[in-house]
Structure formats: C-alpha cells, structure tokens
C-alpha cells in the first residue's frame, strides 16, 4: 500500500474511450495515469498470431489475442472455452457473447472501423415513438463532438451529402471516401433496384493519405482481427503518443475496486498486478472506461457501506439496459461472381431501413454485405468436398467469388431486465465473473418476422441467390452499450449529460455504457463523442479547482 501512484486524471482502460480522455487531459496540461488490465504487445506480434492460426480459427477474432490469466476475456475456440468467462443466461444468452480484448489498446484492435453517427430520431425514441428512452440532449448538442471525434480518429467518408448518414454535419470528413470494391458496387446496384440506398460507410481508415502518422489503407482486407499496418484507427496507435505527451501507462494492472471517501467522492482505485499484489492509486478525477461489461462489473464489485448497491448505483441502473445490435446473418451462394474482399472487411451499409414511424411497433435495422474476402471460407468448403488438382482450384475460385454473407443488425432499446450482475464464479484473481441476462425482446423479434427478413429475401433474390442459409437465432455485434445509462434523472440513470456519475462528482463513466440508445449502427463514434464531451467537463472541473 506504499505505492506512489497518483495523477490528476486516473483512467482505467486503454481503449478508444480511455485514450481519448487521456490525450485530451494531457493536452490541457493535466497529469494522466492509465491502468490497463491486460498486456501491451506490438502490432506485428498480433499480426503473426493471426497468420499462424489454422484457417478454421481465423474467423475467431479473439484467437489472435490470447488473454492473460489475470485479464480473461471471451475465447471462442470451443463452446466450452466461450462459456468460461462471460456467464450468460436468458432466451438469447448466446447473442451476448461479446468480443472484446483486454489488451492495451482495447477492442478497437479488432473493430471494423465503421463510424456511423446516431440520427436525431435515434436520440428521441420515447417522445417520437413511445419506446425506449430519450437522450439527455439532442443531436445538435452532440454534433460538434461527433466532428471532433471524426478528426481525432481520422474518418474517411463521402463528401456528397446524399451519401452521408445522417447528412447533418458541421464539417466535411477529414478524408474522402474509400472506393467500393466490385462486390459492394453490385450490392449497391441491387439494393437500388428495390428502392434501398446502400451508403459508403464513414470509417476510421485512411483513404489514400496518411493521417496522424498512420499509413493509407492498402486493402489487406484484414481489419478483423487486426489491421496489419495501422491504416485503420485503433487505440493502440495512440499509446506512444500519450506517453510522448507525458502520460503514464501501466499494463497488467487489473482494477477491482473503486474507493469512495468524504462527500462520496472517489478517492482511489485499487488494482492487482500480475503477481496478485494489490496497489492503490489516488487522483483528482477518475475515469472508468473499460467497456460496457467491465465498467459496470467494477462498479458493482466496489459496493461499500455508503454505496450498498455498488459505486454510482443509487439508481440500481448499473448493469441494466445492456444493449447491442442483435444480428441475423445469411450465407448465400449466387450464380454470378460477386467478388467481395476488395478493400476493407466492411465498407457500406443500407441505413435508411433503421428509420421510420414503424418504430412504435417494431425496431429498425441496417443491412450490410460483408466485404471480407471469401478465399478462406471457399478454400475450407472446397477441401471438404475432397477435390484435388484443377478441380479444387476451380471450386475455391467459384466459392470465393460467388458466395457472400449478408447481415441485419437490429436496434435494441434499453430494457432494465437485460442485466449484468456479478456471478458467484470467480476468475484467476478471485474476482467475480460477469453474468448477463439477455432477451432481445418482442420489439426486435417482430421486426425480424415482419420487416427485416422480407427485405433480406428481396436483397438475396436481387443478387441471384441460388442457395442460402439464414440463421434462425440472433448473434452479437460486439457493440456493448447501456450498462451505465445516461439521463437527467439520478433516480433512473447512472450518469449525467457529461458522463459524470450522478452519485460521485469526480467519477466519469464515458463510453458505450453511457449510451441511452444505440441505433442500428456501430457504437464507437458515439462513444468517442461522449468521451470528448466528458473530457471537456473533466478539464473545466479540474481547472476550476
């Protein structure tokens, strides 16, 4: 307990949110200490981990990131290994097998880089459609933070407002859009014939030029599980910059308790190192940003006399309202070649299907053709057929060209029963594993039955599908949201409009957990925008003394 760990701003988690806050605080002249549960490794090691995997494991995005015993995360090698850390229950339990890595740099190591914004309507579900919740502020309040987030990450996107989502922007994207590959162009043309608009995705990936020292995308089509060259933003690229600005990063430091003191302010966090030795870290402001599962877990583990439900949890909302975009996928085979795989693994989506007055009855969704190269899938399938020689080559080529995955990602509204609690099961350090109850709700199931599956089938027909397999269960999108939900009323929400805990003046919980609703698009850009907004509040709070 004699450690001298202390800083103006103590940031738990080195993912995109923690790094955004850390860099902002350093730029404002504050001292920053970052605590990362997992190890810190070089990019090339992960690249080689991935390339050394057998083809059957290459689609398991966590396989290239073996967890340390003290920082477990989901491992999907087998069903048994997948059940090891995340404890899941409820009718859609398996749809909450959320992938994230407890490594320095966090889950952006293996994100797709997609940077959709919420729409103004996505932020007013309650008042417009009578479902879910309204945000504490409107789109216009968030817009400047979205723009700052796009410039911080380096987002490429279309300059034509007709191709932007939503087309309400104060500044152009910092870079122009990446060109479509043949598969995406074809999907766009097919969608247009049935009145749907497949938009080029805004993405944190460099198009044609370097950005913040990161090189231009050269189409390795390897965004999952790691961009081998750093053309896609990931928080790992910011770690050396944070250190150059004076930030201190401690890896293998597993925070397990938040300590409160007078006036219920947070006065320290405690972490175990890899030798199970506990350390105490003091500071002026504390930021817990270790994703939508680990953050509520730490808060719940930190209950004390004054905070008997856990830290920041007088509302009993910590760990509730867990969200994601429940996903339905279709594997299709077509008569004609589509040739996915040119460019990033995702680069476009149909977005306007997420909006509409139907939202008072069922949810909306986005539709996407996955642009990952099919050679691995095609190769494995062709080998299974026992082919050899030229016949094998021809079949690999056919299956690589003429197959595709289509995806529906449904919006899920905040529901209190979708809840993270502490499991009685303990991990290597003796800390509770997270337990999550998950039910995507009839609001989503109605959408699938009456709205999204019919659209999917139209798209499949348009593509000339000869054979298809549509999953009859939901899967996860890895967009973990809602567990520290934002709101104006301290009795029904965890954090205020600046992601500050209602219960603790100097505790900030920015990121996916704070999101009031999730929309149909990927959550990261909104998380970073919230981190920007929280950063402003942190800096002004500390500057004011």
């Amino acid at each position: 307990m004699s450690d001298n760990y202390s800083a103006d701003v103590v940031v738990v988690g080195t993912g995109v949110v923690g790094c955004t806050v850390a860099e902002h605080a350093l730029d404002a002249g504050l001292s920053v200490l970052m605590l990362e549960a997992g190890p810190r490794v070089e990019r090339w090691q992960i690249v080689e981990n991935f390339r050394n995997l057998p083809p059957s494991l290459k689609a398991n995005w966590d396989a290239a990131y073996p967890p340390k015993p003290w920082a477990p995360h989901l491992e999907t090698y087998t069903d048994a290994s997948a059940a090891e850390y995340l404890q899941l229950e409820g009718p859609d339990a398996l749809a909450y097998r959320q992938g994230y890595v407890r490594y320095a740099g966090g889950a952006t190591w293996h994100w797709a880089g997609i940077c959709w914004r919420l729409t103004p309507e996505d932020m007013k579900l309650k008042s417009l459609y009578g479902v879910g919740r309204d945000w504490a502020f409107d789109y216009n309040t968030l817009e400047p933070y979205y723009t700052r987030a796009e410039y911080a990450l380096g987002v490429s996107g279309p300059s034509d407002p007709a191709l932007q989502w939503p087309p309400m922007r104060s500044k152009p994207y910092p870079m122009g859009q990446l060109p479509f590959g043949p598969g995406e162009q074809r999907f766009t043309d097919v969608a247009a014939k049935i009145g749907l608009h497949n938009l080029p995705a805004a993405q944190a990936r460099n198009s044609g030029v370097s950005y913040n020292g990161r090189p231009a995308c050269c189409g390795n089509n390897n965004c999952f599980p790691v961009c081998p060259i750093g053309a896609k933003y990931d928080a790992a690229t910011t770690l050396p910059r944070i250190e150059a600005k004076g930030g201190v990063i401690l890896a293998n430091a597993v925070v397990y308790r938040v300590e409160t003191g007078s006036k219920n302010a947070v006065q320290a966090v405690h972490f175990f190192d890899q030798d199970k030795v506990s350390h105490r870290v003091t500071g002026k402001v504390f930021v817990i940003a270790c994703n939508g599962i680990e953050t509520p877990k730490i808060l719940l583990m930190s209950k004390n006399e004054k905070n008997s439900n856990g830290v920041a949890n007088s509302s009993d909302q910590v760990g509730r309202n867990m969200m994601d975009q429940p996903k339905i996928s279709a594997q299709i085979t077509m008569a004609e070649p589509l040739w996915t795989g040119v460019g990033p693994v995702q680069s476009s989506s149909i977005m306007n299907t997420s909006q509409g007055d139907f939202r008072n009855v069922h949810t909306g969704a986005l539709f996407r053709m996955e642009n990952a190269a099919r050679s691995r899938v095609g190769g494995l399938a062709a080998l299974k057929k026992g082919l050899v020689g030229k016949a094998l080559d021809a079949e690999i080529r056919r299956l690589s060209a003429c197959t595709a995955t289509l995806t529906i990602e449904h919006e899920l509204i905040p529901l209190p029963y979708n809840r993270l609690t502490l499991s009685a099961k303990k991990d290597w350090l003796g800390l509770n594993k997270p337990n999550i109850y998950y039910d995507v709700s009839d609001y989503v199931r109605r959408s699938t039955a009456t709205y999204t599956l019919p659209i999917l089938k139209q798209l499949m027909a348009g593509l000339g599908t000869t054979d298809s397999q549509i999953n009859n269960f939901y899967t996860h999108s890895d967009h973990i949201m809602g567990g520290c939900i934002m709101g104006t009323d301290p009795s029904t929400s965890v954090v205020d409009a600046d992601c500050r805990a209602h219960d603790h003046d100097n505790l900030f919980l920015p990121g996916g957990g704070a999101m009031t609703t999730g929309g149909s698009g990927n959550s990261t850009l909104t998380m970073v925008a919230l981190a920007m907004k929280a950063s402003d509040a942190i800096v002004s709070q500390l500057k004011a003394g």
């Binding site: 190890p39 990019r43 090691q45 690249v47 080689e48 981990n49 020292g213 090189p215 150059a244």
Partner: protein, 481 residues
C-alpha cells in the same frame, strides 16, 4: 558539419508565389519590383531554403529547425524580414555576404550547415532577386529561434574564419563555352541553388567537401547520399535522362530507387516545383559527371536481389507469438512488419506504390545505412503523383510498431540476405548509432576528450591538411572562375 540541408515546406513558397500578385499590387506603389520578387521565390524554391529555415509545424522561414550534424545540433535562423528576429535590417550587400560567405550582419560567422560554399556561385541577379523575395514576399515573424550551442571548440565561431580560409573558394559561376547552354544551366543549378554536392560529396576530417571525390557518396545524418556519378556500377550510369528527370520530380524510379530522408525532402520542397527546362538541365549536367567507381562494387546497386520468401518456415510452428518473449527471427519480423505492404516475397505492389525490396538502392548499397534509416524513420514524401508514406519503426510517437536495435538489426539482415546485397551485415550497434542520427564526427571526441590539447591537434591538422588539400584540388570539380 554534415548537412541535412534539405527539408520542409515549399508548399508555403507556392502559396506565397500565388499570393504575390496581391502583394505586388500593393507593393508597386512602394517601388517594389514584383517581377524580381517572383523570380526570387523561384530561386528560394530551387535553393530549398525552406528545408532548413521552416521548422516542422513552424511559420515559413522563421527558423528554429534542428539540423543534426556530427558535432551537434545546429538551429536554423529566422530569415523572415522581421527587424527584431529575422533579417529585416540586412542591406542587400549584407544579405549577399551571408549567402555567399557565411557572414552574419554582425560579422559573426555562420556554420556551414548553411551551404554558402555552394550558394557563393549564385549570380548577382539571382542573389538580388532572392533579397527582393525575402524582403517583400515573405511575412515577417518576430520570433527568435533557439540559439545554436555546439560543444567546444566548435562553439567558437571565429574558428570558422580559419575554416573558410581553407575551404571557401571565391569567385562566381562562369559558363564553360565548350558545353551546351543546357549543360551550363545545369552546372549552375547543381553547384549553387540545388547544392547537390553538399550531401553527395564526401567530407574530410574538418567537414570540408572533398572536391576530388565529388558526388561519390557521403553520409548525411542517418542517411547515405549515394554515388551519383555516371559510373554504371557505382553511380547512376544505368539511368537515362528521362529516368533521372522522373526521379527528381517524383522521388521514385521503380526497380531502382526511392527518395527518402533529405532527398525526399528535396523532391517534395524543391525539385518538383522546378521548370521542366531546369530539371532537364540538372539531369544533363549530372549525367555528364565523369564516372567514379568504388572498387568494391561488382554490380549496380539497382541490380541486386530477387523475390523470395521464408514464410513457409514460419507457419504451423509458433501459433501464438505475443506470448513469446524470445528474440524474434528476421523472417518473423519481416512477415509481421513489412510483408503487409511490400509483399511476402518483397515484390512490392503492381502499381509501384510500394517498392520492391530487391532492385532497390536501399538494399543494394555496400553501406546499409539507408536501409536502417528507412526502417527507423520511414518515408513521407509528397510529389505531383501523391504522397509516398511509410511509418517508421524506430520509436517515434506515430510509429505503428516499436522495434529494438537488435530487432531492426535482425530485420535488416533478413532483408539484405533475402532481397539485397549479400555479405553486408548490420549490428545492433549500427542501428543504435543510426537511431541517434548517424555517425558523429571524431572532432567531437577530440573536443570532449582532449579539450585544449585537441584544439592544437585540430588546428595543426587543419594547417597540414590545407597544404595537402590545396595541392590536391583538381579538375574533377566544377570549373569556377
């Protein structure tokens, strides 16, 4: 003083150039010769003044850029027309004296990081235009840059008077009627504005250019400016005129060489803005430099290597690399750090954006410093054909991977044996030295070890050397009247 005399931001010059009509319109009434200002802007571009006098992220020509030299960092001065911080109080004669003789307004000597030994050949008209540009085409900046503070005895600027006496020729450029006008224009530009010899001519013990070995290659900070004589093995004798012009304009000649370091900056900030006639004149002159061969060269540096890969030796061996703390092999480092752009076989990309690692001067030189320097520092060069960018791997905050000296040595040796000139071996110490900015001069050792004694040694050597040097000056050098 090894010179990193080429750098940043001609874009600024262009901006200023495009803004000149407005400046001049106002200026006409004040008697400013706008045509002269415009010509001066071009000469400033050709001379790449901005390379050293505009710091990264700094205001145009406000100085403060650290120029690494074997005897320590030299900080460039503010050459905006600010009276308090720049050269606003210089008369044209004082300006000309600084450009050509390396003497400040106050009479103190400049270090030859300022290539006045080259600029002295600029014509009176060009110097006059340059003066007009810096007085009327550049915005004054009242910021004083960091002062240069070299270790003893180099901190005694007076010592430069001795140096100048020994090594600064007098006289200006005189055309050689036995050559074409094109060749003569090239000779004028190469000797003066472009100051090619500043980097490409080796330097002696006292950092003076060794004229008898002109253009045969020299170390420039971390980078090696190779032999550019017309020798087909050691130089660029295998390049044709169009190839050299393309290289100067874009920094890229596929299957041969790419410009990085100081040369990349020269392309980005200077050569790409020169007129086609001037670039062709430079190429004409460079092509006519008599061949000088290094006896150690058995083949052209552009000819070494072939596509190959050791990837099959890796796969299926070590499933998880990130848990392995043992020293990685060069093959592993290559696959994880390089192959995603340069290809598993080092073949580069079909469009030539990513160079092949064989048939590449960085892997074909006997001196491996450019290979080490490019791995450490990367490439960032913009020309008319766009940006060529490679991140460094040497521990800069923006690098995508941070490799140790031992790892870069292992990687370099893999690349050299797989794609380049075999038999060249890089050690961790070589990388450490390159990481610090290149070899340092023995002068500094003398200064630090011997102090007073060293001064005597240096001066004695200087005097002895001067006799030898004067007696050796020969026809290999550009004729100067």
């Amino acid at each position: 003083m090894t010179l990193r005399t080429r750098c940043l931001a001609i874009a600024f010059s262009l901006l200023i150039l495009s803004g000149i009509p407005a400046v001049c319109h106002a200026g006409d009434a004040n008697g400013i010769d706008t045509a002269s200002v415009q010509r001066g802007a071009y000469i400033a571009t050709a001379s790449d003044c901005t390379a050293c006098h505009t710091a990264q992220g700094g205001l145009p020509f406000a100085g403060g850029m650290a120029i690494s030299s074997p005897v320590g960092n030299i900080y460039s001065s503010n050459i905006t027309p600010s009276v308090s911080a720049g050269i606003g109080a210089y008369t044209e004669a004082e300006f000309a004296r600084a450009i050509r003789k390396g003497i400040r307004k106050d009479g103190a000597n400049l270090y030859p990081a300022m290539p006045y030994t080259s600029y002295r050949t600029l014509s009176d008209d060009d110097v006059s235009d340059l003066y007009a540009y810096f007085m009327h085409g550049v915005a004054p900046v009242d910021l004083k840059p960091q002062q240069t503070s070299l270790p003893f005895p180099m901190n005694i600027r007076l010592s430069m008077k001795v140096w100048n006496l020994l090594f600064l020729d007098s006289g200006t450029f005189a055309a050689d009627p036995s050559h074409t006008a094109d060749w003569n224009r090239g000779a004028y530009l190469v000797a003066g504005a472009a100051h090619c010899s500043t980097c490409h001519t080796p330097r002696g013990f006292l950092m003076q250019e060794l004229a008898d070995r002109g253009f045969t290659g020299a170390q420039v900070g971390a980078w090696y400016a190779p032999n550019i004589t017309s020798d087909p093995l050691s130089g660029i004798g295998t390049w044709n005129q169009a190839g050299l012009v393309q290289y100067l304009q874009t920094g890229s000649l596929a299957g041969n060489a790419r410009a990085a370091g100081s040369m990349g900056e020269a392309v980005e900030h200077s050569f790409r803005y020169l007129s086609a006639a001037d670039i062709n004149a430079i190429a004409t002159y460079i092509h006519a430099i008599p061949p000088v061969r290094d006896p150690g060269d058995a083949a052209s540096r552009f000819s070494y290597g072939q596509p190959s890969s050791a990837v099959v030796t890796l796969r299926g061996q070590n499933g998880v690399r990130s848990d392995d703390d043992s020293a990685p092999s060069g093959a592993e480092l290559f696959q994880g750090n390089c192959a995603s752009c340069h290809g598993a076989f080092g073949q580069g990309s079909k469009d030539g954006y990513y160079p092949s690692l064989f048939h590449n001067s960085a892997t074909g030189l006997a001196n491996p410093n450019n290979l080490i320097a490019v791995i450490l520092n990367g490439v960032d060069r913009t020309s008319a054909i766009g940006q060529a960018y490679m991140p460094g791997f040497g521990g800069h905050p923006s690098d995508m991977n941070q490799l140790s000296d031992a790892e870069i040595a292992a990687l370099s040796n893999y690349v050299l044996s797989q794609f380049g000139r075999s038999g060249i071996v890089v050690s961790s110490n070589d990388v450490a030295q390159e990481r610090l900015g290149g070899p340092s001069s023995p002068l500094i050792l003398l200064a630090r070890v011997g102090m007073g004694l060293a001064v005597f040694v240096v001066l004695l050597c200087a005097i002895l050397f001067s006799f030898w040097y004067r007696s050796r000056q020969n026809t290999g050098r550009l004729k100067i009247s």
